[in-house]
């Protein structure tokens, strides 16, 4: 479902540069991207600009997209896996407007996918770029508040504190309790925050065919994982890394192997589990897969209707 936008290159009435950022800012971000790819997992400082959305709404991801996007790109934007949430829709419209790109919800046909906290279920391929919006790029920040210290810890590969933290988790809860933003080791050298993706998605980062870029606007950091790079989720021999699993299947498409969201349906506590990746779910339903609650109206009109008096 691709929507071509008529090209309107640098029309005088636009009042801003192609893809919003000025060329000098793009060059600065582009240089940072190249260094980030050359040092996988290392956080490159960059001169983050003020964007027309607040911090926390994806300013890092938007700046990365603006620095690399061209009129031939097909752009997809997801928020928690869904193409149709407010944040995703407004960022997608932003780039359709300022960069004259076609937009899509189809993971397969997108060349740039900007994501907030999910990796699409469909495996990515060469030629695609996955751009993560990152709130806190520093995996050690919760353990050490000072940037000067965490920078030294990365410089000297001083990651003992991280393992102590995981060990304390096991002694307190009997397992490693982190479920999102689960720390990873890139090429056995740099400890990296995968951004708050569920740990379900962590294994997809390793040996991925696509280029993965991470942007933190407020924290002013860019980092990257090139294709075919080793990415290991931290664990212990006797407490190996595990991803989430569900007893339920997707209520709409019946998927057993996708990441599921729990949706509360009414005040009586009825609920359903649905795929978090909206395009993956729609594609499966179109292919004839049927879940236990197929045909359920999750559309807005039904949800907004007042109950009968």
């Amino acid at each position: 479902m691709s929507t071509p936008v008529p090209a309107r290159a640098n029309a005088p009435e636009r009042y801003y540069n192609y893809a919003y950022l000025d060329e000098q800012t793009k060059r600065m971000i582009r240089r940072s991207i190249l260094k980030a790819l050359a040092i996988p997992g290392y956080q490159v400082p960059f001169g983050s600009r003020e964007m027309p959305v607040p911090y926390g709404w994806g300013t890092g991801g938007i700046q990365l997209t603006a620095a690399i996007i061209g009129p031939d790109d097909v752009y997809k934007c997801i928020d928690q896996g869904a193409d149709d949430t407010t944040n995703a829709v407004s960022i997608r419209r932003f780039f359709a407007n300022v960069a004259d790109v076609a937009t899509t919800e189809d993971t397969g046909e997108a060349t740039i996918i900007q994501t907030r906290h999910r990796i699409p279920e469909k495996p990515l391929k060469a030629g695609q770029v996955l751009i993560y919006q990152v709130p806190q790029p520093e995996p050690l920040r919760g353990l050490e508040a000072r940037e000067t210290e965490t920078r030294a810890m990365h410089a000297y590969e001083e990651y003992g504190l991280q393992y102590v933290s995981l060990y304390e988790n096991i002694s307190a809860y009997g397992r490693i309790a982190a479920t999102a933003g689960y720390p990873v080791m890139v090429e056995e050298r740099y400890l990296m925050s995968p951004s708050p993706i569920p740990k379900f998605d962590n294994p997809k980062m390793a040996q991925n065919e696509a280029v993965m870029l991470f942007g933190a606007g407020r924290e002013k950091r860019i980092y990257a994982v090139p294709p075919f790079t080793r990415v290991r989720s931290l664990d212990f021999e006797d407490y190996p890394f595990e991803t989430q699993t569900w007893e339920e299947t997707c209520a709409l498409c019946g998927a057993k192997d996708s990441y599921l969201d729990e949706v509360i349906l009414d005040d009586a506590g009825d609920k359903m589990f649905v795929c978090s990746d909206s395009h993956h779910c729609a594609e499966r339903r179109a292919a004839g897969h049927v879940g236990p609650m197929a045909g359920h109206t999750l559309d807005q009109d039904a949800a907004l209707q007042e109950p009968a008096q």
């Binding site: 996988p40 050298r189 294709p227």
Partner: protein, 205 residues
């Protein structure tokens, strides 16, 4: 005080559409940096002045500006290429390899050792030099097998006209990760990248 005037008649044009063309060049450079050994071609880039290859010129127009200190090969001193870079990129030049953010090496026979350029800081390894090394050709030379991040298993390249001991220098450069320079090999309108993570093995060597 006198200000040297620039003779504009000596300066060749750069990108016709700087916004679109630099974006297209950057995406190719990015893919190459992400996939070491991948060769790309900038056939639509503007002709760079004598001494500078099309690919080196395209990269310079895309990435250089007033923020980047550039080390230019002494062979290009006071050349049309130097004036072209200064006019279009506005980049300051340096003769100290250690200070440079970018270096353009055009004379492979007299090329400084990679270790002479900035290797980055332990806390800021991104501050190292990106070396643009101009060689005779990216094909037809002795085969070298690359591996490392960005390469699924291995990939073969065969550039010609490299500086002496180049692959030994690359080995030393790779071994001292997180420090090290990142190399862009250019020949004519072609480019390939050798970031500091890439391991090179000379075939049969």
């Amino acid at each position: 005080m006198s200000v040297a005037t620039l003779d504009l008649s000596r300066i060749a044009p750069a990108f016709a559409d700087p916004v679109r063309e630099s974006q297209a060049v950057f995406r190719e450079v990015m893919e190459c940096m992400a996939r070491p050994g991948r060769i790309t071609r900038f056939d639509r880039a503007p002709d760079a002045p004598n001494g500078l290859s099309k690919a080196a010129g395209a990269v310079a127009l895309t990435l250089f500006d007033f923020e980047t200190l550039v080390w230019l090969d002494p062979a290009l001193a006071d050349s049309e290429a130097e004036a072209w870079l200064r006019f279009h990129c506005g980049c300051p030049l340096t003769t100290k390899a250690q200070e440079a953010a970018f270096a353009i090496v055009t004379d492979a026979a007299k090329a400084p050792n990679l270790a002479a350029f900035s290797q980055g800081d332990a806390k800021y390894p991104d501050r190292s030099t990106t070396v643009i090394l101009q060689v005779a050709s990216l094909e037809g030379g002795p085969t070298v097998t690359l591996s490392g991040p960005g390469i699924q298993t291995t990939t073969d390249i065969a550039p010609q006209g490299l500086p002496q001991d180049f692959w030994t220098q690359i080995e030393t450069n790779q071994a001292q990760f997180q420090f090290g320079v990142d190399v862009l090999l250019v020949a004519g309108d072609q480019l390939l990248a050798l970031p500091r993570t890439t391991t090179a093995q000379i075939k049969g060597g």
